[in-house]
């Protein structure tokens, strides 16, 4: 297909590379009275590491299952490379899903688990064997092929599930909470390995997670979902620096919210990340900065960085100020917090 495009005009080739690989458009899905997806539209580019992020019940897993063909949308279209994906039966889709429970077949050994998908393609044994070995090598499990899934650790099972999904060479790999069942230590290691794997095998990854740190550290772009609709689609940096709504601002990282009334009399909400605030003695704030005065309530020390909580009269939540290194102020001391007006981000109406 790609070679066909290469021989046409350069304009067509450019179009092909910019057109999305996966296109989800106005998808609706309800289960009984529960709305799982409400008018969801997402475009995912080729070779992208895309993350669907949101709290549990936001519809992210439903969307993943629709892409895999395990659920059918009530309304809307899903295309893969321009072809209608919804019309394609589950077992014919060039899409593979790594299940949250890993769903390894307990009665088959590791090799047979991995070769299962290739056997269904009616490939010959001589084709299957090297591909299985290669997949096991990619995930670092060569030599464990004869083991049963019950004889493996959690991390090893996760690798088998991964090998089983990539061995089919899908155009899209779907991962449902891939690191959810692992210890924190292995998680960080696997995050980096997933990232390496994605660039190595050159497959589009769509990862569902409820862990914002995980999404932020791995994904090229993130769609934040809430109650079945998309709050914002952006790069991790953009989500952090320019959250579109209060929900995104509060869901990702720590945030300080400021309410104000504009000239037209309506309420506006601005967001300031802890790094944008500075703390000092009362009266120390530089010219051209906005400031408030308060009392230092608590300091949380994270090694290179500290979060200072400052109680301000009239504010429900303390302000969070990030400062590099140790803090020379004592709790209960009167302090001033200031910021440059340009660093405040005006939040949209959604989620107010």
């Amino acid at each position: 297909m790609t070679s066909h495009i290469d021989h046409t005009s350069p304009v067509a080739a450019a179009e092909a590379s910019t057109s999305p690989l996966v296109s989800v458009s106005s998808v609706h899905k309800r289960f009984g009275s529960v709305v799982a997806l409400d008018d969801v539209t997402i475009d995912i580019a080729r070779n992208e590491f895309f993350s669907l992020l949101g709290p549990s019940g936001c519809g992210k897993t439903t969307l993943l299952r629709i892409l895999a063909g395990l659920e059918v949308p009530d309304d809307g279209t899903v295309t893969l490379d321009g072809a209608d994906l919804v019309a394609m039966p589950t077992h014919r889709r060039p899409v593979n899903l790594m299940f949250q429970s890993y769903a390894l077949f307990p009665h088959l050994n590791v090799e047979r688990n991995v070769s299962y998908g290739l056997e269904r393609e009616k490939l010959s044994k001589s084709e299957i064997r090297p591909r299985v070995q290669e997949a096991l090598e990619t995930v670092g499990l060569s030599g464990l092929g004869k083991r049963r899934p019950t004889q493996l650790s959690g991390g090893q099972r996760q690798r088998v599930a991964l090998a089983r999904a990539i061995v089919k060479r899908p155009s899209v790999l779907l991962l449902d909470e891939p690191l959810g069942a692992l210890d924190k230590q292995i998680r960080t290691q696997m995050q980096r390995e997933l990232k390496r794997l994605q660039s190595e095998v050159g497959v589009t990854f769509i990862v569902v997670t409820h862990d914002q740190e995980e999404a932020m550290s791995m994904a090229d772009r993130i769609a934040v979902l809430r109650d079945g609709h998309v709050e914002q689609i952006a790069s991790p940096n953009e989500l952090y620096e320019h959250p579109a709504s209060r929900f995104v601002a509060e869901f990702i990282g720590s945030t300080n919210l400021f309410e104000s009334v504009n000239e037209k009399g309506s309420t506006e909400l601005r967001c300031l990340r802890p790094e944008r605030l500075q703390m000092g003695l009362v009266g120390e704030h530089p010219a051209g900065h906005e400031h408030v005065e308060g009392v230092l309530a608590d300091v949380q020390f994270y090694g290179g960085l500290s979060h200072c909580y400052v109680d301000v009269a009239g504010r429900e939540n303390p302000l969070i100020v990030a400062s590099v290194g140790s803090v020379s102020y004592r709790p209960a001391q009167a302090v001033a917090v200031w910021w440059h007006p340009d660093s405040a981000v005006l939040l949209g109406k959604t989620g107010l």
Binding site: G69, T90, H91, N96, Q100, Y102, A103, F105, P106, R120
Partner: protein, 257 residues
């Protein structure tokens, strides 16, 4: 365990197993009398094989037991999977166990009335159908217990990897349920070979099952070859129960975390 408790336990087990022990010992008694020991002999086992009536009974019982085991295992397994997937009503779920817990006599009378109503002639076939019915309830219960330990995503994973719905069921779901299915089948077979009440009510006069033959014989006093037969049945059921216990142990499944 305290001394009185140990004694109590000993008495309970004696009460349970002494009659069975006596029966096994008597089956090897040369004299054939329950009152005197005439030395060890296997002659009653020989008599048993030569007894035309008993051979006929064994044949009928095996036909009924094998037939009802196959029917009950297939239907019971499908029922268990179907209930797991599609039924959300607790009434339907428990109703399937009714034939297993209902008194045999109620089931027997009901079935007899049913066969008369549909004008089905009584015989081996009606016993086979009756046994399939209550065995199916047991198979369903055993397979459902197994299903509870199987990750529901397994079949979805198979389809995701390119298998059809039917292929995924045959290649993934059935093998994961295999120990439960086998246990259910063994249980059905054991329950069917010694079932008397339902067979008594729903069988015709021409093909009595083994329990019916034994019943007809003991009415005129227990003959020693019946002891031998009971010993054989005992060994068979003990083996079946041990296998069922082994098979229903939840091993080799990956607990969904």
């Amino acid at each position: 365990m305290s001394r009185p408790m140990r004694f109590h336990l000993f008495m309970v087990y004696t009460f349970l197993f002494l009659p069975i022990g006596v029966l096994v010992v008597l089956s090897f008694n040369r004299s054939g009398l329950p009152t005197s020991w005439g030395g060890f002999s296997t002659r009653w086992y020989g008599e048993l094989v030569r007894n035309e009536q008993i051979r006929e009974g064994v044949k009928n019982t095996l036909i009924v037991a094998l037939g009802s085991t196959i029917i009950a295992t297939v239907l019971g397994t499908l029922l268990a999977v179907g209930i797991q997937r599609f039924v959300r009503s607790p009434f339907v779920e428990s109703a399937i166990l009714a034939p297993a817990v209902m008194p045999d006599i109620v089931l027997a009378v009901g079935l007899l009335a049913f066969y008369t109503m549909v004008e089905m002639p009584l015989g081996r076939l009606t016993v086979l159908v009756s046994h399939s019915l209550f065995c199916m309830a047991f198979v369903t219960a055993v397979v459902r217990a197994r299903l509870a330990h199987v990750d529901p995503s397994l079949e979805e994973a198979a389809r995701d990897l390119g298998d059809t719905a039917v292929g995924a069921f045959l290649r993934i779901t059935l093998p994961s349920l295999a120990p439960g299915i086998l246990a259910g089948a063994l249980l059905s077979f054991t329950l069917s070979i010694d079932e008397f009440v339902i067979a008594f009510f729903t069988n015709g006069p021409r093909n009595p099952t083994l329990p019916q033959v034994i019943y007809a014989n003991v009415r005129f006093g227990v003959k020693p070859d019946v002891n031998a037969l009971a010993t054989i049945l005992l060994i068979m059921s003990v083996l079946a129960v041990l296998s069922v216990q082994r098979l229903t142990r939840p091993t080799d499944t990956i607990e969904a975390s």
